[in-house]
């Protein structure tokens, strides 16, 4: 039982491998068809923007893998034969395993738009997408306009990337306000304005109808569903979400839904086969979490947990309080606990926004018990540990508002807004 094979060298597969190595002497092989070495997907944008080179996005130096006896194999897995515990690779060879972990991540969604496979149309997920973008949008002369379809976290990153090379961007967002399925109204609208301040042509409540081709099979323009307007462009970025990258699993006996179905121990229906990271789908959602969580931290935490199981200390995946973060152009966003776009029944929000329109915060709490349930901050950094503790201790919202400065994580000498926030909060209580 000592031959461990991991498909996927992303954060989940690599975290798992590192922890197995710490706990044991098992043989570990990581297979990936994307890059030879692990790199940070979250940093793809900074390569295009010239902040870093590709090698800087690799968290470990190349000697790390040999030193830790983690074998790396650059190959594409075509099929899994769970009866014989064997993988078929695209180069025709086979590889046996004792335990298999599938950590193949996601792929960009495509919703069957006409023209979605033309040259110059791309997602932004893999290293290859970045190389492709470099070909089609090296500068504003070659790419006179780019259209981005889908207003999520990757969409806004792509907009920022293109903006850094002065390429005009039209940003088509289906929702009536940016990412308002996740962000409460006030925050979402502040980000709308911030996007426009960056001279990005943001089109809300706008859907893509089709992508048109020129005579060479390259994208020439897009047509908008609602108005029929045709927008000439050289690049179309499809960033309408991601879904598990598991097509090659479908022919096997491993049970799949949208992702690979796993139980709380990250085990699939087949013994000795596990799935972690973006591609794993929980049978039942854990708490308020979604059954598939395509975020960095989830992949890492699953890797940390599964290593215990693989090393014979079987352990349930029990993530702690939800947290996440992102950056919308110049505005940093952090969240701890749950703040829903629209408060659930018996919940309510306190919202504060700074007059400069780049900082705001939303606190969610239970209106009956006053229990604090989560916070979103924009333009103000918060201390993870403090909120994690307050959530565990089930503090009430008054306590949190009065102790907010303890959680502040902004650099030294930054201006503090806690007093202003508190007085706004107290005022709201009086009028409510």
């Amino acid at each position: 039982m000592n031959n461990i094979v991991i498909i996927g060298n992303g954060i989940s597969g690599v975290t798992l491998a590192r922890h197995i190595r710490k706990l044991s002497d098992k043989k570990i092989t990581i297979i990936s068809a994307e890059t030879d070495y692990f790199f940070s997907r979250t940093a793809l944008m900074y390569i295009y923007m010239g902040h870093m080179k590709f090698e800087h996005t690799q968290p470990y130096e190349n000697w790390f893998w040999e030193k830790n006896r983690i074998e790396l194999l650059n190959a594409y897995v075509e099929a899994i034969d769970t009866d014989n515990k064997s993988l078929r690779l695209a180069n025709g060879s086979h590889l046996n395993y004792d335990k298999l972990i599938i950590a193949t991540g996601s792929k960009p969604n495509k919703f069957g738009w006409p023209g979605q496979d033309l040259k110059g149309v791309m997602g932004m997920y893999h290293k290859q997408d970045l190389d492709n973008l470099e070909v089609h949008a090296p500068n504003k002369e070659v790419c006179k306009r780019a259209v981005i379809v889908g207003g999520g976290l990757i969409g806004i990153e792509l907009a920022e990337m293109l903006n850094s090379r002065s390429i005009p961007v039209t940003f088509l967002v289906r929702e009536s306000s940016f990412w308002n399925g996740v962000l409460p109204e006030g925050e979402s609208q502040m980000i709308n304005r911030h996007i426009k301040n960056h001279h990005i042509d943001l089109r809300l409540s706008t859907n893509l109808k089709e992508i048109k081709s020129d005579e060479n099979g390259k994208v020439k323009s897009v047509v908008i569903e609602e108005t029929g307007e045709e927008i000439p462009c050289n690049v179309v970025g499809l960033t309408a979400g991601v879904s598990p990258n598991i097509d090659f699993v479908k022919s096997s006996k491993i049970e799949t839904g949208r992702g690979i179905k796993v139980n709380r121990f990250l085990e699939t229906n087949i013994p000795d086969v596990y799935a972690i990271g973006d591609c794993a789908e929980q049978h039942e959602a854990i708490g308020n979490r979604r059954p598939i969580e395509a975020v960095w931290y989830t992949g890492r935490m699953m890797g940390e947990t599964l290593a215990q199981t693989i090393c014979d200390k079987r352990r349930e995946y029990k993530p702690g309080h939800w947290f996440n973060s992102a950056k919308f152009l110049d505005i940093e966003y952090q969240t701890y606990g749950w703040v829903w776009a629209k408060p659930k029944e018996n919940e309510t929000h306190f919202h504060w926004k700074h007059e400069d329109d780049t900082k705001c915060l939303t606190v969610g709490y239970n209106k009956d018990t006053n229990e604090f349930i989560g916070i979103n901050t924009f333009g103000i950094r918060m201390r993870h540990e403090t909120f994690d503790t307050w959530l565990t201790e089930k503090r009430d919202v008054d306590y949190v508002m009065n102790h907010l400065s303890e959680a502040n994580f902004d650099p030294e000498f930054y201006k503090h807004y806690e007093a202003e926030i508190l007085s706004a909060y107290n005022k709201q209580l009086q009028t409510a």
Partner: protein, 521 residues
């Protein structure tokens, strides 16, 4: 090829004009260098320095004030000058040549020898020197002026670049102030008040100021009565009292990125090159060896120097050779013993070499003292040691390589590999300071922006992605890693010494039981 891309980062017409203005200013200086005799030197000097400064100011205003506040690193790795391209190498060669001439062939800059009048570049600076201190310029005055202008002009640029970040702004104002006041103006005024006093930049401590305990310097101070005595006492107090207290409270940043002139230049004029410092483990290994070797060298050299000019007879002066060497050995032994008793388990990779070095010095001094070879070795070798140090460390390492190689090795290669002052402060920072960079729980996404911008070559991400605080002796607390982190993961702070170093395996946010199980040591 990095050269194929930069057309993405065009500069505006206004910036081109600004660039041209600056270049004309530099051209005037270059003409002077090649012995063009300008009729009215005061006017041309003002013109030259004015154009360089105004060019930089307009350029940076156009670069930053036309955009929204935020991180401005677009295209850093595409631009030839900041990514070791042709322009980078060219600037490196020009700077290096300038330093070689400055240190070793000042006559080519026009220094008048044996009382002859200055010519060329140095004579162009005569009017300013006359104005400040009533004497003609020297090559060091020229260098000091250009150095100060560079820190002021690029400091302004830096403040605009980080106009959303008050830590960066205040810190930069501080280095600009210390350079202009302490390194440039005050020594000139001190000369006016008392022209026998040796040049003394009050903020420059031993061992950075390695010549302060030279015989000529000490006797220069002592022959000036109370002021001189006060100054040399101040020098000793800064090293043994003020600096340890400040480093305990704030980390070595209070000096390295708030006060020091070498740091000041690196943070301002060197800012465009910070990403070039190597983050490889192998570079860190070289760093640990090199910086501590330089430290050992400077301690032995200074001890030897002082030793040679002290007397034998305690009736003349209580501090005799014997007393002095015993004091040095005693002091070093107390420090070493203290560390071994209280901090043995916290040495980590970075200060282990420091401790070894310290131990080596003690053994060396003790053996020499008791075998009676001190006399011989120090007498014959002190002068040689001192001049070797001056040439190889003081000039070549800190100037020629340290600054000349900015565009190749990054902006802080001297501070990182060579500065004995940084070694001492770093040693204390690692072992005995409230300073650390706190990592924000599990928020790191391993993107690498922090490591990329660390001028000291620290792989910040290595710690951040493990949820571990950064407590490294080399960190100068510039705060750029924290500024560029897109997820708000890093915070420089001074807090209690307990739990400052916190290696973790499982990060905050995961199963609490698992965290407890695995993280307990």
């Amino acid at each position: 090829m990095s050269l194929a891309k930069p057309d993405a980062i065009n500069i505006t017409t206004k910036q081109k004009v600004a660039l041209a203005t600056g270049i004309v200013g530099l051209l005037i200086l270059a003409l002077a260098l090649f012995n063009t005799n300008f009729p009215n030197q005061g006017v041309f000097l003002t013109l030259a320095l004015g154009m360089v400064s105004i060019g930089t100011i307009i350029y940076s205003r156009e670069a930053y004030l036309t955009k929204l506040e935020g991180i401005k690193n677009d295209g850093v790795w595409f631009k030839s000058i900041s990514s070791r391209g042709v322009w980078g190498w060219l600037v490196g060669v020009i700077l290096t040549s300038f330093y070689i001439v400055l240190y070793f062939y000042p006559q080519y800059l026009g220094l008048g020898v044996d009382g002859a009048a200055n010519t060329g570049l140095i004579s162009l600076f005569d009017p300013l020197s006359q104005l400040l201190s009533g004497r003609n310029a020297s090559q060091w005055f020229v260098y000091g002026t250009l150095y100060t202008i560079a820190i002021l002009a690029f400091g302004y640029k830096f403040i605009l670049k980080y106009r959303h970040n008050r830590y960066q702004q205040i810190r930069t104002i501080s280095v600009m102030f210390f350079q202009l006041g302490f390194a440039f103006l005050i020594p000139e005024f001190m000369y006016v008040m008392n022209n026998d006093l040796p040049y003394y930049d009050l903020k420059s401590m031993w061992p950075l100021n390695y010549y302060i305990f030279d015989e000529w310097s000490v006797s220069g101070f002592l022959s000036n009565g109370n002021i001189g005595l006060a100054l040399i006492l101040f020098g000793i107090i800064t090293i043994f009292v003020i600096s340890p207290i400040l480093t305990y409270k704030f980390g070595k940043r209070w000096y390295c990125s708030w006060v020091c002139g070498c740091g000041g230049l690196a943070e301002t004029a060197g800012d465009s090159f910070r990403q070039l410092s190597s983050k490889k483990m192998s570079a860190w290994k070289i760093e640990r060896w090199l910086i501590h070797l330089v430290l050992v060298f400077s301690v032995v050299m200074t001890t030897a120097m002082v030793y040679t000019y002290l007397g034998y007879d305690s009736n003349d002066f209580w501090l005799t050779k014997g007393v002095f060497i015993s004091l040095v050995i005693g002091f070093l032994t107390i420090v070493f013993a203290g560390i071994m008793i209280f901090k043995r388990h916290e040495l980590g990779k970075d200060v282990k070499y420091g401790a070894i070095g310290l131990f080596a010095v003690i053994i060396l001094l003790v053996t020499m003292h008791f075998t009676g070879t001190t006399e011989h070795v120090f007498y014959v070798k002190a002068g040689a040691l001192r001049s070797a140090y001056g040439i190889y460390i003081g000039s070549i390492f800190s100037g020629v390589i340290g600054t000349g190689f900015y565009p190749i090795l990054g902006s802080r290669s001297w501070c990182r590999f060579g500065c004995p002052m940084a070694a001492i402060l770093g040693f204390q920072q690692r072992l005995f300071s409230k300073f650390r960079i706190t990592t924000n729980g599990g928020q790191c996404i391993s993107c690498g922006n922090c490591s990329n911008s660390c001028e000291m070559g620290i792989d910040v991400r290595h710690y951040a992605q493990k949820g571990e605080n950064i407590v490294r002796s080399s960190c100068v607390g510039c705060g750029i890693c924290s500024a560029v982190c897109p997820r708000g993961v890093l915070k420089l702070e001074n807090d209690s010494m307990n739990g400052r170093i916190n290696p973790t395996e499982i990060l905050l946010g995961n199963d609490v039981d698992l965290m407890e199980l695995v993280n307990e040591k």
